[in-house]
């Protein structure tokens, strides 16, 4: 700011009067809004498709397909899964977050990283590792176990960030009011964790609904496994789409529950003083027991996959590394991931721009569309795109474009979140300052705002890449002939119980995901200001 003010003082006498660029502003505004509108309308495609198929099928047939015992079975399974996994993840995440952020646990930084690292292992590889270890593992218990181990980092990240940001003065005051440590935790700390817990729970719930590979391997039937089974039996028959409709209903139910019970309190720090760092509680004689929790969690969520992969690779030897198949798979995965991530981030830009610079009713509605679609399982989106391209846009059918479009629809919310955070860091005043120094509006945006957004956009690209590299169902359904990503190759081999052959692909997927998981970990530390 110093430079800006001195620059203004020096330049003022020489500069011609600044143009009142009123009309231009109005145009560029609506151009961005139009782009965002287009994207949101496209995002509604899968939803519209499900509704349209339901309409076409007719109520009689549709209700016969929806209201039958099998669907009831699937609903019960899904309900049990969500009801058990979400609370378990919450308790585990809160316990780990408290231990790593608020206690003097030795090696807290390492445990913190180990609590995030399971994200680098795709969910279906977790499942593959567990059934290699205990082949008989199946059913609800297995589903809950592996789901908790695969998804608890989604809750650990926001909860630990929130714990770091909590104002310790509030807890001190509560203590001075006569509350012992446990009471302080229950009545003061936990309520302030409500937002991250709710957000994390929603994320975990949506993943549970959308996941395919994990549950197939442990023989636990969910809507998504049933939809893929139907797809493989009747391709794009109405039955698959009816199931998809019920699944979409479940997703919306989750979204509604979260939105309805979240409340609208603001839990940001009230007041102007700087938050001091909270003192770490001494564990004393509880230390060995407290170390056991992160240790056992790490062993189960990271140790089991690593040990299994090593075992299979060792027993498979060099024979399981046919580079003429692995090489192309790696290259295709990276290419799809990067292309998809760049496309998604670019497409998300107008929407993110609007939400920060020009929030309003229309913008909120558009954003809601994007988030709703992003919560849909990959299989539903893939089904929709298959039908649309086969009937309406045949040249696009079975091309890379369709796959990328599917990725874009699935991962738009991730890109949006990162971009919004980035644009929020570049207040409009900086742009104005640049314009007062003689830059055209476009150049001001490019040189100032987009530059400042670049790190956040890069993080968004990384996150979306991570998601795409590990994506299975949509790729299975949409990939063009001869395209084999690491995930689909892994899946093909493990379906033929060639576990040793599948191991190299799993290993490479984990190695590729590690840098992006590391980035995620660093990012979460930074947003808390430490």
């Amino acid at each position: 700011m110093q430079a800006v003010s001195s620059g203004a003082v020096i330049a003022a006498p020489v500069l011609p009067p600044v143009n009142r660029a009123r009309p231009r502003r109005a145009w560029s505004f609506s151009w961005v809004a139009a782009a965002a509108l287009l994207v949101s309308l496209f995002a509604l495609l899968p939803l519209g498709f499900v509704l349209w198929v339901g309409w076409q099928t007719g109520w009689e047939v549709a209700s016969a397909m929806i209201f039958r015992p099998r669907v009831g079975e699937l609903l019960v399974n899904t309900a049990w899964l969500v009801a058990l996994v979400v609370p378990l993840c919450t308790v585990l995440a809160i316990a780990l977050a408290w231990l790593t952020e608020r206690s003097d646990l030795p090696g807290a930084r390492w445990w913190s990283w180990l609590a995030v690292a399971p994200l680098a292992v795709p969910a279906f590889v977790h499942s593959y590792a567990w059934i290699s270890l205990t082949p008989g593992l199946h059913g609800l218990f297995a589903g809950v176990l592996v789901s908790v181990l695969a998804y608890f980092p989604f809750m650990y990240l926001p909860i630990s960030a929130a714990l770091r940001r909590l104002d310790p003065a509030i807890e001190d005051t509560a203590a001075s009011l006569g509350l012992g440590p446990w009471q302080v935790f229950r009545r003061v700390v936990l309520p302030q964790l409500r937002l991250p817990v709710w957000g994390g729970a929603l994320l975990v719930g949506l993943h549970l609904l959308a996941e395919y590979g994990l549950y197939v391997m442990i023989r636990f039937d969910t809507f998504t496994t049933a939809i893929v089974d139907q797809f493989q039996s009747s391709y794009n028959g109405p039955a698959a789409n009816m199931l998809a409709g019920v699944l979409v209903g479940c997703c919306f139910a989750l979204l509604a529950v979260e939105a309805g019970t979240r409340g609208d309190e603001r839990y940001a720090r009230v007041g102007t003083g700087a938050a001091r760092e909270a003192a770490r509680r001494a564990l004393g004689k509880w230390t060995p027991l407290c170390i056991a929790l992160p240790l056992v969690t790490a062993l189960l969520s990271l140790g089991v996959p690593l040990v299994t992969l090593t075992r299979w690779l060792v027993s498979g030897g060099a024979a399981v590394w046919p580079m003429r198949y692995i090489g192309p798979a790696i290259w295709q995965t990276i290419a799809l991931a990067l292309a998809g991530a760049l496309l998604t981030t670019l497409v998300a830009l107008p929407m993110a721009w609007l939400s920060i610079r020009a929030p309003g009713r229309l913008q909120r509605m558009l954003e809601a569309c994007n988030y709703m679609v992003g919560s849909l399982p990959g299989v539903v989106i893939a089904l929709a795109l298959v039908t649309v391209t086969v009937r309406v846009a045949l040249p696009l059918y079975q091309t890379v474009v369709t796959v990328l479009l599917a990725y874009m629809l699935m991962f738009l919310p991730r890109a949006l979140v990162s971009l919004r955070a980035g644009i929020a860091q570049a207040p409009v005043e900086l742009e104005h300052a640049a314009r007062s120094l003689g830059h055209s509006p476009l150049r001001a945006v490019w040189g100032v705002t987009l530059r400042l957004t670049a790190p956040a956009a890069a993080a968004g690209v990384a996150m979306v890449s991570l998601g795409i590299a590990n994506e299975l169902t949509a790729t299975l359904l949409l990939a063009p002939n001869g395209t084999q990503t690491l995930a689909t190759a892994f899946w093909a081999l493990s379906s033929e119980i060639d576990y040793a052959g599948a191991a190299p692909y799993a290993l490479i997927m984990v190695l590729l995901s590690l840098p992006m998981t590391w980035l995620l970990y660093l990012q979460s530390k930074k947003t808390a200001g430490r």
Binding site: D167, A169, I170, D172, T173, A174, A175, S176, L177, G178, L179, G180, P181, V184, R187, V188, P191, Q192, R194, E265, R266, Y267, A268, R269, V270, G271, T272, G273, A279
Partner: protein
């Protein structure tokens, strides 16, 4: 003496950094004490040790005869019954005002609602605010709610950690006065920690100045202001005019001539201190300048409304001294360039030998 709180030889260090080095302090029941010092002097640490959020490395803290801390062996904070109001109120964001104020009161307590209303009344807040959330209140209102919340416990001792620093300047003085009156009428012993010396001087019965982990001087506000122990304390508590002088028999000879000092025993060379309000200016015609009294010339006037700061360059033998900054009422300010006679009201203070 009836000391409610006694702190004896309290030490605290964080690793290699020594934050508190041997603090001794006594606080009488029903009184208001202010601990004042620059940032980093350790005053907040001392407050947190009294509250029980930190534990001293050595020393004792005794409250009403009960030993609260003896070295690292300490009673935890939630058992001390000491009220604490942090810097920006720290209201619980997930609760409304009523639940905040009643936080320490058991849900099943009979007459809970009445007690809450009574507390709101004590801090002069309207009961219509009870359903509001903390983020809907102004800074001053939040501070009062925090106070009411702490008062609900009927604490023996109340600790305030820079409670007025977040308020607008205009509000600060009024709030301070109101809080002081409230606490005294309720008979609650209070310790205030602040870096603002005017706040400390006006609020407290007893002022303790801290510097670099030591208590430099403890006493009444007037005693500290008029008879500070050293130049650093003196300048911390207000503007000073420090001059070298020769003292003897209750008088000092300095650039301002012969002025009375408040000490008869000292003799020899010494530093003396005057407060700016002790200097008075009277405009005189140029011709009357002589060596009997102290005369000067006005070089600059900094107009401040009711009080102006007048820079005066001394004439005669003392002209080598730096110009004096003299406070003068806005009425009858001598113009720039006028000759004035400088008179000293009251006596100067002699600093202890270095």
């Amino acid at each position: 003496m009836n000391q409610l709180l006694e702190i004896s030889a309290v030490r605290k260090s964080y690793g290699p950094v020594n934050v508190l080095g041997g603090i001794d302090l006594g606080v009488a029941a029903g009184s208001r004490t202010a601990i004042v010092g620059p940032s980093g002097s350790g005053k907040t640490t001392l407050l947190r040790i009294i509250a029980g959020f930190e534990v001293p490395d050595a020393g004792t803290v005794t409250l009403g005869g009960e030993r609260l801390a003896n070295g690292p062996d300490a009673v935890p904070a939630h058992k001390r019954g000491i009220g604490f109001v942090p810097q920006d109120g720290a209201l619980f964001p997930h609760l409304n005002v009523a639940d905040n104020v009643g936080f320490g009161l058991a849900r099943s307590l009979p007459g809970r609602a009445e007690r809450i209303a009574e507390l709101m009344d004590m801090v002069a807040l309207d009961t219509t605010m009870l359903q509001r959330r903390p983020h809907e209140l102004s800074g001053g209102q939040q501070q009062r709610v925090a106070l009411a919340r702490a008062l609900a416990q009927r604490p023996r001792l109340m600790l305030l950690d820079e409670p007025f620093s977040a308020l607008d300047t205009g509000l600060r003085a009024a709030t301070r006065k109101a809080v002081a009156q409230l606490l005294t009428s309720a008979g609650i012993t209070t310790i205030l920690v602040t870096h603002d010396q005017s706040e400390a001087l006006s609020f407290a019965d007893q002022v303790a100045v801290m510097r670099a982990g030591q208590l430099v001087q403890v006493g009444t506000p007037m005693a500290l202001y008029l008879r500070p122990r050293d130049a650093a304390t003196a300048s911390f508590l207000g503007d000073t005019i420090v001059l070298p002088a020769q003292v003897g028999a209750g008088w000092a000879d300095c650039a301002l001539g012969r002025i009375a000092v408040n000490q008869a025993e000292r003799s020899g060379a010494a530093q003396i201190m005057l407060r700016p309000e002790q200097l008075q200016l009277a405009e005189v015609p140029v011709e009357s300048v002589d060596s009997a009294a102290c005369f000067g010339e006005v070089t600059d006037i900094d107009f401040g409304g009711p009080v102006c700061v007048v820079s005066v360059r001394l004439l005669g033998a003392a002209s080598a001294t730096a110009p004096l900054q003299v406070r003068s009422p806005g009425v009858h300010v001598p113009p720039v360039g006028a000759t004035v006679r400088v008179a000293v009201a009251g006596s100067a203070h002699v600093f202890e030998a270095a």
